[in-house]
Structure formats: C-alpha cells, structure tokens
C-alpha cells in the first residue's frame, strides 16, 4: 500500500479513537434506549478501531494511539447535548473516511465510501435529520445560504 493509503487509515483510526471517547461521554448523559444506542454505536467504533489497527499492523505501520482525553466541541451536560455530540462525532468519522475515499487503491476507496455511508446513517439516527454533504466542510460562501436549522 502507498503512503497515502497508510496515512488515510491512520487518520480514520484517530477518528475512531475520538468517537469511542465521544460515545463514552455521550452515554454517561443518556438513559434507557438512548443509552443502549450509544453503547451499540460505541461497540461499532471499537470494532472499527480493531480492524484498522490490525490492518495498519499488517502493513508494518505503528497504529496511532488514543489520546487520554479529547476536547469536546461544546459542553455536554444534558441528554440533548449528548445526542448532538453523537451526531457530531459521526460527521467527524465520515470526514476521516472521506480521506480513505481519496486514495488510489480502488478497493480501499469503495470500503471508505461504505464507512462514510454508515457514519452518516448513524448521525441521522441520532439527529433525526439528513445533511447534504456528510463529512465535507461547509462550503465557503460562494452563494449565501442559510445553515441547516439546528433547533426544531
């Protein structure tokens, strides 16, 4: 595999580490079926982390380690914020896998696209909304357009 492929996988792994942290924080503020959903998605990211670490190791690369803690994008003290955090985390994961979509290896591109899709579906499950461009940065203002409403 080329260096760009390894680098993209490392970025995806770093995003999975952050997602695992994010779901641990979110889950602490959720109860009942939402807590179960957070637990389920936390497990999905654990499995993805294991897969990426194994793949990188087999390529002779040293997998990037998790950090001790991560800066949260906003304070999380409520179930509502916890749900927003889960959706946020999934969009960051989608962004990282878009890096995998940009590599030259066709099989890796296809796999990356499937991960982007899975992350977007989880984000939609949490937020109840779809976004136009999961994982892509908001576009520079070529044409002013209202941001998607954040409040129901």
């Amino acid at each position: 595999m080329t260096d760009d492929g390894r680098s993209a996988l490392q970025s995806a792994l770093a995003a999975e580490h952050a997602a695992i942290y994010g779901y641990a924080v979110a889950g602490a503020h959720l109860t009942g079926s939402l807590e179960e959903a957070a637990q389920r998605d936390w497990t999905v990211h654990q499995v993805a982390m294991d897969t990426l670490e194994a793949r990188l190791t087999s390529l002779g690369a040293q997998p990037v380690p998790a950090q001790d803690a991560y800066q949260l994008p906003f304070p999380v003290h409520s179930s509502r914020a916890a749900i927003s955090l889960a959706a946020y985390v999934e969009d960051r994961v989608a962004a990282a896998y878009l890096g995998v979509v940009a590599v030259d290896d066709p099989a890796l591109r296809t796999w990356g696209a499937a991960q982007v899709r899975a992350a977007a579906l989880r984000a939609t499950s949490w937020s109840g909304r779809a976004t136009a461009f999961p994982g892509l940065p908001a576009r520079a203002p070529v044409k002013a357009s209202a941001p998607p409403s954040t409040a129901p």
């Binding site: 760009d4 890096g99 066709p106 591109r109 696209a113 982007v116 977007a120 461009f133 576009r139 998607p148």
Partner: protein, 148 residues
C-alpha cells in the same frame, strides 16, 4: 469541450500530485447531475401529490438541489440543460409514494459510488458524501412510512 474543476476544496492526500483525468470525471458528473435532476422532479411530484408531506419532504428536496448545484459547479462550462426530466412528458407521470422515493434514494446512492475508482480524488469524495446523504434520506423515508 468541458473540463471539471479540480481545485475544489477537500483535497485528497494525493490530489495535488495526481494528474487530471478529465474525461471520466465529466461523464460521471453528467450522470450524477442527471440523476439529481430526476430526484428533484420526483420530489416536486411527490409534494404536489401529497401536500401533507411537504414539511417533511421539502428539506430533502433542498438537499438534492444543493447536490445538483455543487456537482454542476465542478463543470467549467455547465451545459444549458439537457432536456430536464421535469419538462419531459414521460418522466414522473404520477406522484411517487414515500416507498418509491426511498427506493429511488437507495438506487441513487448506489449509483453514485459505482464509478469511484475512475474519478479524481476530490470528485470521489464528493460522490461518496452525496451518496451518504441520499442513503440518509432513504433512512428517514423508511422511518416516515416507507418500507424496509
């Protein structure tokens, strides 16, 4: 002759070092833009046929319009409308159901990622992102009353 803009945001790791491959990009873009126009026509028909669903469907329609705009912006010289599906007498003869929209979204999402290997890195990223968006639409349509 139309060339895609390769300088759009979201550079792939190798984007700067990869020579342009314009022909597959243009063909794939054309197909994707045509598919978005068809989805827009379907949503217009669905909203007309079922105004009670307008509040639910309009945001999804707006996202398809964003998809079409961003795809079109990658063409230096956007074509002045191949016959738009909306104006074709054969397209969308009746309002699609939520189930039909769901199936169309799933098909569209699958079609977008079919040619990922042939296009430039930044277009591959855009196609994968739009495909993920449309899969999310299908998920919302399903929970709204489509089938699964």
């Amino acid at each position: 002759m139309v060339f895609p803009l390769l300088a759009a945001g979201c550079k792939g790791v190798r984007a700067l070092g990869t020579p342009p491959r314009p022909r597959p990009d243009v063909a794939v873009l054309d197909d994707a833009i045509t598919a978005e126009k068809l989805m827009i026509a379907r949503y217009h028909a669905a909203i007309s046929g079922s105004p009670a669903q307008a509040a639910f469907l309009t945001p999804l329609l707006a996202q398809h319009q964003e998809h079409a705009a961003r795809l079109t912006s990658r063409l230096v010289n956007p074509r002045p409308a191949s016959p738009a599906p909306a104006s074709s007498p054969t397209a969308t003869p009746q309002a699609p159901t939520l189930t039909a929209l769901q199936a169309a979204e799933e098909d569209a999402a699958d079609a977008l990622v079919r040619h990922l290997a042939e296009v430039t890195p930044s277009l591959a990223q855009l196609l994968a992102s739009i495909a993920a968006s449309e899969a999310s639409h299908a998920q919302l349509l399903q929970s709204r009353g489509g089938t699964g």
